[in-house]
Amino acid sequence: MSVQTQVAQDKELLLDVKNLKQHFPVKGGLLGRTINHVKAVDGVDFQMNEGETLSIVGESGCGKSTTGRAILRLDNPTDGEIYFQGQNLLKLNKKEMRKVRKDLQVIFQDPFASLNPRQTIKSILYEALSIQNVLPKAKRLERIYELLEHVGLPADSIHRYPHEFSGGQRQRIGIARALAVDPKLIICDEAVSALDVSVQAQVLNLLKSLQNQFNLTFLFIAHDLGVVRHISDRVIVMYLGKIVEIADKKTLFQSPQHPYTKALLSAIPVTKKEEKRERIVLEGDVPSPINPPEGCRFHNRCPLAVDACKTQVPPLRNIENGHQVACHLVS
């Protein structure tokens, strides 16, 4: 899909995240004051172009979901700038932000928790349309049927409640809700992680076809590298609140540069002999994001670490044509 990558580069810049930081306070001590911070996201920069699918992968606690929530302003970030269609989202007031939300939607992981159990499908979708007031009232019902068709649900599901559907079908309802307001960017936060493989494949196919149909941009947050490889144009790898590598899909999976990316890729259990890599088993656990290691955050688990890694934070450097790596050993 090299064609698509090229197209993506020609397209307009949609999202520009600069030095995003999200520190959550840790309370403690005698007076219950903030004694420290969980540095969930600690200085993240990346750009997204219209129409592309950019994935963020990493293990739990790396800050990938926090990044997504910060862009949606579900949490208020500690620091940084988030330019969406040229506007800094963090400078907008509540009312202005509400307008922007029309173009910025989200699909969540848990198909059970992501729908209000007391709303019918119609009410869920109608609410989406009425909050953003995208259509005159008379046309909304028609639009709801259209949305159900887009996501492959039967028209008679309109009066049913979420508990009457399977996990995969619920995820389709969540997609319809996000789609209702005609957004430009959809953040998929582990959108297929809770599904069984056979259903996961259905939903992945649906997402891809909707993207082509409506020229959607996806920020795809996931931990499953197989899924990420399938759906993405470009991939960001995060570790402990920082980006360690950004590359287009092909480059990342064929010639990963950062030692963490290499270990991560080698750890995926695969079914086919031709897919097998030599296993690099990392020692130990991911350190706490409250007191992350000095220097490169990966240095205490890195098989290649040198002295510089323990003291200096490696900057995210461009090594070739959009391939960025944060490692002292890669130049």
């Binding site: 929530r69 949606l72 579900l74 932000m97 509400r98 307008k99 939300r101 029309k102 910025l104 939607q105 989200v106 969540f108 992981q109 848990d110 928790a113 992501s114 729908l115 209000n116 159990p117 007391r118 609410e127 989406a128 909050i131 953003q132 969540g174 809700r177 307001v181």
Partner: protein, 298 residues
């Protein structure tokens, strides 16, 4: 397959046992529901009595008849007469109006403010939460009915003041439960989804949070009615609530106490009335909780 022969032998006893156990669990479930049903019937029965008291009461509950004072239960006075010759049954029937009326009124008062405080604290969090919960903590620092007692002491002894006092005494319970439920519902992804759509706080609170925390509120409300009725009658028993000649059950009991040796039925019947009504609400509340609490559903 060859295993089928072996199957036959093993399966039949197991199957019978399963059948038996299934019946057993069915029976037990029925019994559980039966208890809740009994509770519901008791509550409805008392409500009906309260509503029709003026029609079915055999005597005027306030009519003093000193000639017939302290009569044993008889055909004329089914539950006897008190020290002023008033018909105990009629007084109990009118008392049902007072007990239920005061109960519902103070419950409503406590639930109304408790729910508002709980939702606001849980939804907005931060300093608002801290202030509200500190206030609730202070109310909870008064042991048992002492808060209600102190308020009545301040406002003066009357049934209305008892209603207010018990209402205030009920606020913390609702505030805590509602806050907790709000916090757990707020974390669910559908709240984030409607926030991402641009819904405002009012919509989120009333359309997405409140309907989903109704079950614990209803269950708590039913169980709390039991406590509220116990508390109001206790205050009346102490002489701080209903004043004579009101036929409030607690007050009747307190009055009958002086005749515990000579006319024990003056103590037994009002007490029995309070006990069964409270039992009814407790049974019904327990049943509701079993039915509505998803944790217990498998």
């Amino acid at each position: 397959m060859k295993t089928e022969v072996i199957d036959e032998k093993i399966q039949s006893p197991i199957r019978n046992k399963v059948k038996k156990e299934k019946w057993r669990s069915f029976y037990l479930r029925l019994q559980k529901n039966k208890l809740a049903l009994v509770g519901g019937i008791i509550v409805l029965f008392y409500m009906l009595l309260a509503l029709t008291a003026s029609l079915i009461a055999p005597h005027d509950p306030y009519e003093i008849d000193l000639l017939n004072k302290l009569q044993q239960p008889s055909m004329e006075h089914w539950l006897g007469t008190d020290d002023k010759g008033r018909d105990v049954l009629s007084r109990l029937l009118y008392g049902a109006q007072l007990s239920l009326g005061v109960g519902f009124a103070s419950l409503f008062l406590g639930a109304f403010f408790g729910i508002i405080l709980g939702i606001v604290a849980g939804y907005y969090g931060k300093w608002i939460d801290t202030i509200i919960m500190r206030f609730i903590d202070i109310l909870l620092a008064f042991p048992g009915i002492l808060l209600a007692l102190a308020i009545v002491a301040a406002l003066g002894s009357s049934l209305i003041n008892v209603t207010i006092a018990v209402g205030i005494f009920t606020i913390p319970v609702f505030a805590r439960i509602v806050r907790g439920s709000t916090l757990s519902v707020k974390k669910l992804e559908y709240i984030d989804a409607v926030r991402s759509l641009g819904a405002n706080d009012i919509t989120i609170i009333f359309k997405h949070i409140l309907p989903n925390i109704l079950s614990p509120i209803i269950v708590q409300g039913t169980l709390r009615l039991a406590t509220v009725i116990l508390t109001t009658s206790a205050l009346s028993f102490l002489g701080l609530g209903a004043q004579p000649p009101l036929p409030e059950w607690g007050a009747m009991l307190s009055n009958g106490r002086d005749f515990l040796f000579s006319a024990p039925y003056l103590t037994i019947f009002p007490g029995l009335a309070i006990a069964t009504l409270v039992l009814g609400f407790n049974l019904f509340g327990d049943g509701l909780r079993d039915a509505l609490d998803p944790r217990l559903k498998k």
